[in-house]
């Protein structure tokens, strides 16, 4: 290596050193330690005590809250992610075609994502007050729909959490919008001249060119929906009121680790979450070969 190259390498290493330390101390070591803890009984005060697969066994066979939270988290992810993607895409399409006033709409759609989750959840708890004096129930009353129980009803509490997630759709919408604005106008124009209608242009040009952005939003949406915590804790506490219906997976991890200090059990739950997120993400990336279009034929 020339002295100049060596100097460059030394500087490069020096600039990235803090991040390297962080990767080792706050990422790689903890992942290994979490896997290790998951095979132990560990309450922080005494040293971890090896118990093999007992934590995993308890989880799958002896903890009804585990299955309940898996069900709740799956329900939340399976509905809020696809619904959120479709609505964000529709909003972006609406915004994209119309240049006038776009700035104001963009700001309005983004505003809800600024509200800290604790505050937005409390606001929604007020909006969805059960009985006939809650705002949403009063608005439904105008259309003759009877008052709903919402957060007091075990079947309706999760939908309220999903509504809350849809309120924060702004960021995904703006990412779609940026993707739409990157599509060369000449392509759409050429298709129009060739006689393609709106739907054909959408299916054959817009959607394929937007698919990398769709992939990005899908992966990020899935990863974050599996980790929903604050909203569920504010609504249902650590028991997932009403009747365990808002007990999300992150809530039982938090409860095991920082209320009961069963670090071993909480680690086993975390490892499971990690594996599931990994598998789902890999499946999405694998399926991406079939539906994501990369310019230049990289697919």
């Amino acid at each position: 290596m020339s002295p100049l190259r060596r100097r460059e390498a030394r500087a490069g290493f020096f600039f990235v050193l803090p991040w390297l330390v962080s990767l080792l101390v706050f990422t790689i070591y903890p992942i290994i330690a979490t896997i290790f803890f998951s095979f132990t009984d560990y309450n922080i005060i005494q040293a971890p005590h090896w118990i093999g697969l007992a934590n995993y066994q308890t989880m799958f066979t002896a903890d009804p809250d585990f299955w309940r939270s898996v069900g709740n988290s799956a329900y939340y992810a399976l509905i809020s992610v696809p619904l959120g993607l479709i609505m964000a895409l529709l909003l972006a399409l609406l915004l994209n075609a119309h240049a006038r006033g776009i700035g104001i709409y963009r700001t309005i759609f983004y505003l809800p994502t600024l509200v800290p989750p604790v505050a937005s959840t409390i606001i929604f708890m007020l909006l969805f007050t059960p009985n006939s004096s809650g705002l949403i129930n009063m608005l439904l009353g105008i259309f003759g729909i009877p008052a709903q129980g919402w957060l007091t009803d075990a079947n309706q509490a999760r939908p309220v959490l999903i509504f809350l997630s849809l309120w924060g759709l702004g960021a995904a919408t703006l990412i779609f919008l940026a993707g739409l604005q990157d599509i060369p106008a000449t392509l759409l124009e050429a298709a129009t001249i060739d006689g393609a209608g709106y739907w054909r242009r959408f299916w054959h040009i817009t959607l394929p060119l937007l698919s990398p952005v769709l992939l990005f939003n899908l992966v990020m949406g899935v990863i974050s929906s599996f980790q929903v915590f604050t909203q569920a804790l504010v609504v249902g506490g650590t028991t997932g009121a009403p009747q365990g219906s808002t007990l999300m997976f992150m809530v039982i991890i938090y409860r095991s680790a920082f209320r009961y200090f069963s670090m071993g059990y909480a680690s086993a739950l975390s490892v499971l979450l990690f594996v599931v997120v990994l598998i789902v993400t890999l499946l999405i990336f694998w399926s991406a070969r079939l539906w994501v279009f990369y310019e230049g034929g990289r697919s």
Partner: protein, 301 residues
């Protein structure tokens, strides 16, 4: 911006074409009206929770739950502001100070460490750089909780539980998301600039500090505003690491307040309003950078 204009030209040319066909000239206008109606409707739905928070903060409980709906507080209960502000359960100025301390220190650490690491990954060649970059992107896919428990144990052994140290120290070492963002920005700067400075004998540190950093100032501001936003909204970290209520930042303080005043909705709405307001003020001044940052994340993904 130019693209927006281009697209407008396209959409203006299509009505001209349909124009030739008699009888369908009304369609573009109808579509435009429909689109506007929809956008306004969605905007109203987006704004409604804000509006309800704002007016409920100045109502009493009787007005909040009045039938029919009261769209304006009458009379306006200005005293709610002082009542919440001075409530022992919600020491606003103190918690505001905590939140500002928390987000400002995290942001300083994040901007410094991520600018340096992003610069290194984008423009300096050293062995193992590609592997390091792949690892950096991989950290974005790891759920936070997977690394959280052993990290908590580490800080416990260091005797730092109950302080802001575990919340702040990691920020000074970098954050995968922002490093990725900074790297993408640094890649867009022409190579001639740093090559010329190198030929003139400037040290690598000087090139970074005096030539590169001023060029990526917009990117530094983007990272800073998002770091402020995320830290202000952070709930899990403070919930786990802080125990003394006098240390609480606003998010956690609002959660504790909600635990005490479950049904005092006007106080809770005032608390929510006071917790959100500083972020809205930051957004008002830095809106351009927020929008730029969002556009960035999607593009390069």
């Amino acid at each position: 911006m130019t693209q927006v204009y281009e697209r407008e030209r396209v959409s203006m040319s299509s009505p001209a074409r349909t124009h030739k066909v008699p009888g369908v000239r009304w369609r573009p206008r109808l579509i435009s009206t429909g689109r506007h109606t929809l956008l306004i409707l969605v905007s109203l739905i987006c704004l409604m929770p804000f509006y309800w928070m704002l007016i409920s903060a100045f109502k009493d409980n009787g007005q909040i739950f009045a039938v029919p709906i009261k769209w304006w507080p009458d009379p306006i209960h200005w005293e709610n502001l002082a009542r919440t502000w001075n409530s022992p359960g919600f020491p606003y100025l103190h918690m505001l100070g905590n939140s500002i301390f928390y987000s400002v220190t995290v942001t300083i650490g994040t901007v410094l460490s991520c600018a340096a690491a992003g610069y290194s990954l984008a423009r300096l060649r050293f062995p193992g750089r590609n592997l390091l970059f792949v690892l950096t992107v991989a950290t974005l896919m790891i759920p936070t909780i997977v690394t959280f428990i052993p990290t908590y144990v580490l800080f416990r052994y260091a005797g730092l539980i109950g302080s802001y140290a575990p919340l702040i120290i990691p920020a000074f070492l970098g954050n995968g998301f922002f490093i990725f963002m900074m790297r993408q920005f640094f890649l867009t700067i022409p190579w001639e600039l740093s090559e010329a400075a190198k030929m003139d004998g400037a040290s690598e540190f000087r090139i970074f500090w005096q030539i590169m950093l001023p060029l990526v100032k917009p990117a530094l501001i983007v990272v800073a505003v998002f770091s402020i936003l995320y830290t202000w909204q952070d709930f899990f970290g403070p919930l786990v690491y802080l125990s003394d209520p006098s240390q609480y930042p606003l998010s956690l303080g609002l959660f504790a307040f909600q635990g005490q005043r479950t049904t005092d909705w006007s106080a809770l709405m005032m608390g929510s309003l006071l917790t959100t307001l500083p972020l809205i003020i930051v957004f008002a001044f830095a809106q351009r950078y927020f929008l730029e940052g969002i556009t960035m994340t999607g593009m390069k993904g």
